[in-house]
């Protein structure tokens, strides 16, 4: 599994299509995105990470920057999103961070 991360609107999905050599339709079968939103609803992050790791690529928007949210629910959601991505990064064969559409490999190697 390749974990693809990056800020909002940084071209993560386009980078995933490039890395998996596929179009958007095929991407929805082979990859999953916005996983940061799934973390908050999950009571079991390791189990969620295990499920997501079955995809070839997992895409997450980095949400840990900026001020800690004043709202308790948002704070918990952001915490869960970060923890989930740490678990995914540990399992991933490669971690790619996207900057303005440019993929940068920060862990492992792309085969």
């Amino acid at each position: 599994m390749i974990l693809i991360v990056g800020p909002l609107c940084s071209g993560k999905k386009a980078a995933a299509m490039q890395l998996l050599h596929c179009d958007e339709q095929e991407l929805s079968r082979r990859a999953v995105w916005d996983v940061q939103e799934l973390a908050a609803k999950s009571g079991d992050l390791p189990a969620l990470a295990g499920e997501l790791a079955r995809y070839e690529a997992v895409i997450a928007t980095e949400v840990g920057g900026g001020v800690v949210p004043a709202d308790a629910e948002e704070r918990a959601a952001r915490e869960a999103a970060g923890r989930l991505c740490c678990l995914l990064a540990r399992r991933a064969d490669a971690v790619v961070r996207v900057f303005c559409g440019i993929p940068v490999v920060i862990k492992g190697e792309l085969s």
Partner: protein
Amino acid sequence: MMTLVVGGSASGKSEYAEGLILSAAGWPRVYIATMQPFDEECFRRIEKHRLMRAGKSFETVECYTGLASVTMPENSAVLLECMSNLCANEMYSPQGSGENAQKAVLEGVERLRRQCRDLVIVSNEVFSGGSRYQGDTLRYLELLGRVNCALAAMADNVCEVVYGVPVYYKGGEPN
């Protein structure tokens, strides 16, 4: 030669971008200013940038919308600052192109690139504060994000400026 310079606010991206133009061979040096002043704070900000450019032989051209109508001298070195303002103007200003903002901006840049010798474009990193945006803010972020990706694809060099230190993601420092 086209270079995209991206950075957060007060990251030193303007000064770095100006330096790239100063060491480029292109002449004359033209600064395309995109910030439309609305209040005293805008004027102060513009004045700060003017002082920073003083003595560097820049000719300033103001362009708030309609970049494609700007004509540059052949062989010039052009600094466009900042893409975040130009996108906001195209999207929200009555003179802007609204839903066609992306097309208007990218066509303008493509035209500019063909006209001048050296082109440096400054853009803003505003995407790291989370993902829970809605409405106009989300639409603006989507526009600037798509424009940044398209500019990065067009550019020979792409860097992020971290407190004055350039980190290159594509190409390298020109010259």
